[in-house]
Symmetry: C2
Subunit: 447 residues, 2 copies
């Protein structure tokens, strides 16, 4: 499992994908589909060797305003879809941080999320149709431009999030929704994560439904301190970026004012202009840039916990960092319980990263969470899947894999673990050494 | 396949359900799970005989405000869940018309929808955890109080909408969302369905995201004419009931005024009070009551089409009714392309109903739609599943059924068709005669 392919192919249509898959099936050669390669868990690394199949040329895109939907090839960059929808007054809500480079096919493979999931949901909530090439090269057309269906088993749902191990999705039909014309954004600071969590709970039971609720902890804040408004309360333990959207600017501003009052922070700042709004989001984006510019290394994780467990989870991050002498800076999507703890470490601390990540996985699971909220399992987290799902559910997943891909040729060694979970999982990853040096891998941080 | 069970059991816990399933598995006896029995397609009719397993005693309910979720036994009545969530400032959005009697377990089995799906989605969009008893009596715990997950195959999605044929869901964890504090409602009338469709398109690309967009056609309107406001434009071809919700009454009223302007009907009436709002919804609910009180019989259908095809679909309803000399009155969820054409017929016209429904199915499929938007396939529509999904997808569905239930004991003869589609499908249904006389079946009309 060194992750080197025999060859790479770039088919331009579903028929060409099917022809490649048929040829591979005939020869018994593994085949690993690949989107933009912007994922953070090594999903498209061809652990079984064989053929890497890039979907980048499947980039046809249709916005169908009469049916409020888009039909997109797997290779369409998500940001391009968002812009094309916006030009027609519509919105495709899922919004991964890598939106400018990641593709819809990759988003479907990983059931990607982003910052707008609390209000708008994840990729799976928008897929109404797809074309899938199965392991024998046959083509399945599922669903269509329909917004609602209760007929038969929900096959599309199986392919979503399956990381190309059950079939290769070549195009998708996606629901679009009305595009909000206005947004308003604020910073709200807290002296403890507990205060932030209580503020969020109070807000959400009050009838307000914000479009974003982003969390940054004290360590993340320290990295972006220079981007905070001048005079903003120093020494905060947590910061929320809260956004509201809607059809009318005055109404959105009024709602945000009420939201900020309910959040009851130690300090707050409501953006008074588009420039100030941009400035607030710049502070959030700055987090990734600072990490890349540092002389230290970093390793970004992605876990989910029930939202009431966010304070406990962040306490455990702090305890873990103190114990190992590393830094863990956390950003996350507060309304989803989705945290991105980022381990910052020196070259000498490299051997601590695996044990630290393993502890983060175990803690998330102990708190009723998941080892992956929106990145997938890939090569990296696969070994921990059984701890999360249990042996019985893993058996069922293996049964599905056998049914759809009896010879195990589609993205081998992914999703269903072959090794038991242990702290050394990271050392077994191809490219773990190379990854540290890769600007590309680093630039997609902070989804 | 006469639909008579050997016996009925009412277990009170997942363990008891598992024990019943194990006993049935040992004896090779079919087992059909049953919610409230309020479905309209015969899903819980035990076509294979054997044991009927009612889930009504699994009625535990927990609202967890700290995690914005509910944990509900399969037997919890959906309306009870909605009320319990509302009491905590939260909302469970899926809203089938049978909400006062149907259960969460049944909603999950059929992936139920309702009137709020355009903005809020369907049952599947809210399930984050479930307990399932498999065909061998083993118990699978899936997901939990997590709002986001991208880890492993999405097994829960398979059980949702599977009508109890792959496993028996005994409890579910459901996402809740902030409950809007205000609603405002209007009637907008049109001289043609085309005008209504164009109004809806114009509205949705303008940035407004209404919480309901209900359609009634001319025949449906005739049945409820006395409930319309006095002086309302007579002879309309279509009526929309449009609702907006939000956190602030004044804002919601302002948004609805803009929405009504964009919808640009031939006449409109905005409710100026809660009493007027209730009156508007009474007109919609009146549709079912009038049908029940009539001396004629009726048969309610449920299809979905891409929303741009709504005018063509309704033209085909009219042509079909004219050809057969029956009446088809249609209500539907306009923003989802979900239409409920209701065939009204005399005793002498009884033999026309099967061919009429079959033609409606064929028309929906020809327009890129589905034979079931939110009711499921049940006993009634099963034969038409292959026409909708195609032979290859049906093969995959049969493979899944074999994998999860190799001996075919769970709700036999459902979802995967055994008979080819034909106009006589209705005559093969157990209780087709009895159904016409049943007040119970009639009272759940107009989902």
């Amino acid at each position: 499992m060194d992750g080197s392919p025999l060859l790479a192919v770039r088919p331009a249509s579903t028929d060409e994908v099917a022809a490649v898959v048929r040829a591979c099936a005939a020869a018994g050669v593994p085949i690993t589909a690949r989107g933009a390669g912007s994922g953070l868990v090594g999903g498209p690394v061809p652990l079984g060797g064989g053929v890497v199949l890039s979907l980048d040329r499947l980039d046809h895109l249709e916005i169908d305003t009469a049916n409020l939907c888009a039909v997109a090839g797997a290779g369409v960059v998500t940001g391009r879809l968002q812009e094309a929808a916006a030009a027609e007054g519509l919105m495709y809500p899922p919004d991964p941080a890598s939106v400018d480079i990641c593709t819809i096919g990759g988003n479907v493979a990983c059931n990607s999320g982003g910052m707008s999931c609390l209000k708008y949901g994840v990729t799976a909530d928008y897929v109404t149709g797809m074309t899938v090439v199965l392991a024998d090269g046959s083509v399945l057309e599922l669903g269509g431009k329909l917004r609602k269906r209760a007929s038969g088993y929900r096959l599309m749902s199986l392919f979503i999030g399956s990381e190309g191990t059950l079939g290769i999705v070549t195009d998708v039909t996606l629901k679009l929704v009305p595009r909000p014309r206005s947004r308003s954004t604020a910073l709200v600071g807290y002296r403890s994560i507990e205060d932030a969590a209580e503020g969020v709970r109070r807000l959400l039971v009050s009838g307000h439904f914000p479009s974003a609720l982003e969390l940054m902890d004290a360590n993340a804040l320290r990295l972006v301190a220079q981007e905070l408004p001048s005079g903003f309360e120093p020494g905060l333990a947590a910061l929320l970026i809260v956004e509201q959207d809607g059809s009318d600017q005055q109404q959105v501003v009024g709602q945000l004012a009420e939201i900020v009052e309910l959040l009851a922070g130690a300090d707050n700042r409501v953006a008074q202009s588009e420039a100030e709004r941009e400035g607030i989001w710049r502070a959030r984006r700055r987090f990734g840039h600072v990490l890349i510019a540092m002389r230290k290394n970093f390793f970004a994780e992605d876990v989910a916990v029930p939202i009431s467990q966010i304070p406990e989870m962040t306490r455990r991050f702090t305890a873990l960092a103190d114990r190992l002498g590393i830094t863990i800076a956390t950003v996350g999507h507060m309304g989803d319980g989705n945290l991105h703890p980022t381990i910052v470490f020196s070259d000498e601390q490299r051997n601590l990263v695996g044990p630290a990540a393993a502890q983060i996985f175990r803690d998330a699971l102990e708190l009723g969470g998941s080892i992956s909220a929106e990145h997938g399992l890939g090569a990296l987290k696969r070994d921990y899947a059984e701890l999360e799902h249990g042996a019985r559910a893993l058996d069922v997943m293996r049964g599905l894999k056998s049914m759809f891909d009896p010879r195990g040729l589609l993205n081998p060694h992914k999703v269903c673990p072959e090794s038991p979970a242990d702290d050394g999982f990271l050392e077994r990853q191809p490219g773990w050494g190379a990854k540290l040096a890769s600007g590309r891998d680093r630039s997609e941080l902070g989804a």
